[in-house]
Symmetry: C4
Subunit: 141 residues, 4 copies
């Protein structure tokens, strides 16, 4: 076996510098149910964007929401420190305005440093919970 392969693959590089991800992300399937059945707060119905910033710079993030029959809302601004993750519950966004329940929407998430975005939803409207998660759509442009 090749001795050079005994070295660790990318040790340390993932933690600082050498960013991973993209600057623009889209989540087309947005929906916040208006009621829950699960114990609060972990099992309340919610929708979240999970952001990961492994770069060594703080990420300034803007979220813009799109609807079917009105103008877009936002931007909602937040920061993800260097080497940190942040799981943003859309339910809790309220500046400049809260997100309407039981309404289809979509979101664009834009950052000034590359990040990774995963979309997750817990739906506890019925007695048992349903769960989804998918990597958001990443754009180069």
């Amino acid at each position: 076996m090749d001795q050079t392969r005994q070295s660790t693959p990318a040790s340390g590089s993932s933690r600082r510098g050498n960013p991973v991800g993209r600057r623009r992300w889209a989540i087309a399937d947005g929906y916040i149910p208006s009621w829950s059945n699960g114990p609060e707060p972990q099992l309340a119905s919610h929708e979240a964007a999970c952001l990961l910033n492994i770069s060594d710079e703080e990420a300034n993030v803007e979220i813009t929401l799109y609807f079917e029959d009105r103008e877009p809302a936002g931007p909602y601004r937040l920061r993800v420190p260097a080497g940190r993750t942040r799981h943003v519950r859309f339910n809790e966004l309220d500046d400049p305005e809260p997100i309407p329940k039981d309404t289809d929407y979509a979101s664009m998430i834009e950052s000034d440093v590359p990040i990774v975005v995963q979309h997750t939803r817990l739906d506890s409207r019925l007695a048992e919970n349903a769960l989804l998660s998918t990597i958001a759509y990443a754009s180069d442009h």
Copy 2:
């Protein structure tokens, strides 16, 4: 810290112009259950394609359906206005023909401007609901 990073990352550009997404999308896993248990209409079993058009042009979209043992159906035509999202329930497509229930199918979604497509299904056949969502397959060609 670099002072230029104090500016907002992409403010305004996401809302008009500077489109994100692709023109051709595929959803290989299509299936509409024939019965439901949830309260109508939010928890009726359904399958949807969530379309997001952040460009400044209306998107003309065509959906073509593929089956295991018959010729393709469609195209089903619809529009997504500029700066809007549209969550299309496959159950409700009926021109040129409704989609059969309990039948495996797949779909191609083609647009004249770049859009983002996410696939979602709520299955409420049993007492509790199951939920899935995934970004569709994007093609450059």
Copy 3:
């Protein structure tokens, strides 16, 4: 508005010719539960690969299975006609050998024409069903 946009976006091209997709796909998360609770056959626990071939050539497909502690199994061979989809239940693959239940595995799906592959699982071990679906990993190589 540009008059040329009045033409349909890609009419007809999706059905024959102008293929979409890739030739190699990977599903790393394979698992077939050994028991079910749902009514047969629609709600039996199963795992499937949904294949879409919109090209005008039949696709010859080979599936190879990988395990944690034994040699790979396969290839399992099947065909997807031109302009058709096929939802392959892994439970039903038995040539050259059936897939063990309650065993972690992964799969490579290789085709001689570009196809799209989506991975889905229905888990009905408990009283209610759980459902997942995700686009498989597409490779150029």
Copy 4:
């Protein structure tokens, strides 16, 4: 029909050599529930990364975990033999430290040979289970 298409598409090449995948993967949505309802061990709440290595070299893998309000943890080191899959339950990682429950986190998975990574979670906190799975975010860099 082209006679050359009668040959099998990629026979054998998937099993040894001709690797598929990437060296860096991100899972932004990490969360291990602190309690379960399902029968042990199959239906205990868990979160897993499913790794597939179809190359002919053993993969040396490092997992680094990111949190919201503390320094990253890891690296957690493991190997995936050539031509094998490995489904890693995050619950079981304990060197250099166990992963806290009920805590949002994210993970980077880095390998010295190309692999494919899929993220899955079984949540059995309530009487019935919820299941998710998605391909992780793949990076070239």
